[in-house]
Symmetry: C2
Subunit: 354 residues, 2 copies
């Protein structure tokens, strides 16, 4: 048996009990709400957990990149939703190769994007399912109105090799009701036009425990972060610190002053993501410490508020602000149970930039 | 010949003419100032450029992690400075293995750190060179006074297997004069005590063009970012946009509104590093565009100030705020010359977290 304290730092620890509990809790909530769950693998980037999510009842998984889809397809996942506009010949070719071997569907939010898909996919016997992405308040991608969603759906329907799959949105955190209203309006627009709306897929861990409300209009929910949770989800009220399954193990390497400690986890381990928070993570062993600065390889802690202060060589575990990009920085994560190392696992879909 | 526009996005482009020009300009300035150059490889993480730096006249290279040192030693680099406290049995063992095959020196800023090194390195015939790290204003690692530097130097000198190599500092950006004063005071303290000070090594790209002043007290300079330069160095006055050798190639994938464009480069390509800047990078083709938001895979551009606006499918090149962590996010970078692809090169020292 290897205790986590024997792992070289910095390292990512995944508490398997907590991760499994988070997965089960969300699947139970989805089942109760009567909404399909399609977890986003961007958080863990691991076939191991993707398979576990499907075993627990997920209808498939969500990916953001063709490279992630390829890793998941290679690992035996058969039902993928790629929630990103696919633009350009090189990516369309890879999408076609995926479409030939698994069920993969994509999104589009513009006539240009649909035109590209329609030119690449022409087989009416094996259509590519395309969702219309809707901007329900996030201010990122997406058509701007239900009427525009209907127009784009009609373009998809008119393309021989495409199939209209429904509407997709990623709501702004905390704005799930506004998103639901937008989608309900769209449902009315489609209904009035006599256009079938096969599915409505929404997502987001910050509002995951309102899946019952989401289910009033949506048929599918795509949470990502819920498997590990993080400091931003604790701040959003979606999790407690005890739910956080991912921590970054670090060593105190310097104590230059009475009030300063330096750890060997900087932005290359924790990322610079603040997500509106103050400080760069929560130090479990020294909850009164503040991570006030990050260089690439150094984390600077203000420990003036700590009654007992860390010594050089001490190990600390940090709940990062945002767990998803953290797993993208490490070639391996360490699965632990009861503080014992089970396995160092390669992050198979890490660094899939396209 | 492959034009860069044929490379799948997002991708890192390295303009080789610019990188070589940056390397040469700094080496020339160091030669003129009479200061040794020891470039930090954290920026490029490539043996290819490390060797080029040594060929141009660098005395060796700087690394921040044992994993980086191992990659460089494997590639034939023979003189390494590791500017990070090495703490713990596992890392000391790897350091010993490196010390057996190349010249590697390290830093320490505490008696605890020196004690660990002294216990691992005991061979007086093959001593480990140790610099005392000094906090000259950065507020990160380092002893807090010249007197403390002298005390630590004496501990190093007293250890049979260690050799006192000198003083090392990373000055706060723009504070090179304060750092020089600190080091001059330390030189006086060592001189008064009759303790030989073999070398003083300082660094930082923001103040690289003041190497002539640094040379009044320092014997060695360790710049990293200077090879590629970036938006933060342009803001610091150390480079112009025309010096920036690294850009992130991205595709416009969505134009949801008249004033918004979405690109396929988010924080997983550009990082969330702000370094005090507003916005997440400079878009070369649309200099009036502002990168106002990043998700992991999306960059959100406010294009309201752009006279001509980007279309879906357009390629853009972005000068990131901070080039160093960008190369850590990509398995490969693309070397280009006159806009033509020369080679896709694996980032050999990417992801060396420990």
């Amino acid at each position: 048996m290897t205790h986590y304290s024997e792992i070289d730092t910095p390292a990512v620890l995944i508490d398997l009990d907590r991760a499994e509990s988070n997965l089960k809790k969300a699947q139970d909530a989805a089942n109760k709400a009567g909404i399909a769950l399609r977890p986003h693998i961007k958080t863990h980037k691991l076939p191991f957990f993707a398979k576990k999510q499907v075993e627990l009842g997920a209808v498939g998984v969500t990916v953001q990149k063709l490279g992630e889809a390829e890793v998941m397809a290679d690992a035996g996942l058969t039902d993928l939703l790629l929630t990103f506009n696919i633009i350009g010949a090189s990516k369309l070719k890879r999408l076609k190769a995926l479409h030939d071997r698994v069920t993969i569907r994509v999104v589009a939010d513009s006539p240009d994007c649909v035109t590209g898909l329609a030119q690449a996919f022409t087989n009416a016997e094996h259509r590519l399912g395309v969702f219309v992405e809707c901007d329900t308040g996030m201010g990122r991608c997406g058509v701007q109105s239900p009427a525009a969603a209907l127009d784009l759906a009609r373009q998809i329907i008119a393309a021989p090799g495409l199939g209209f799959a429904g509407l997709m949105t990623y709501p702004a955190a905390g704005k799930y009701r506004e998103a639901a209203q937008w989608l309900a309006d769209a449902r009315d627009v489609f209904s009035s036009a006599g256009v079938d709306l096969p599915a409505i897929t929404t997502g987001g861990t910050p509002d995951i425990w309102h899946m019952d409300e989401a289910a009033n209009v949506a048929t599918e929910y795509r949470p990502g972060t819920y498997i590990y949770m993080d400091r931003s989800q604790v701040a959003a009220g979606a999790a407690s610190l005890d739910d956080c399954a991912l921590t970054v193990l670090a060593t105190v390497v310097s104590r230059p002053t009475e009030t300063r400690a330096i750890i060997d986890a900087g932005s290359k381990a924790l990322t610079s993501d603040l997500l509106g928070l103050v400080g760069h993570g929560h130090v479990l062993e020294f909850p009164d410490a503040k991570i006030v600065g990050l260089s690439e390889e150094h984390g600077t802690l203000d420990i003036s508020a700590c009654a007992s202060k860390p010594d050089i060589g001490d190990l600390v575990r940090i709940v990062p602000n945002h767990c998803c990009p953290v797993t993208n920085l490490f070639d391996q994560v360490h699965l632990i149970r009861d503080d014992e190392l089970l396995q160092a696992m390669d992050v198979a879909a890490r660094g899939k930039v396209n």
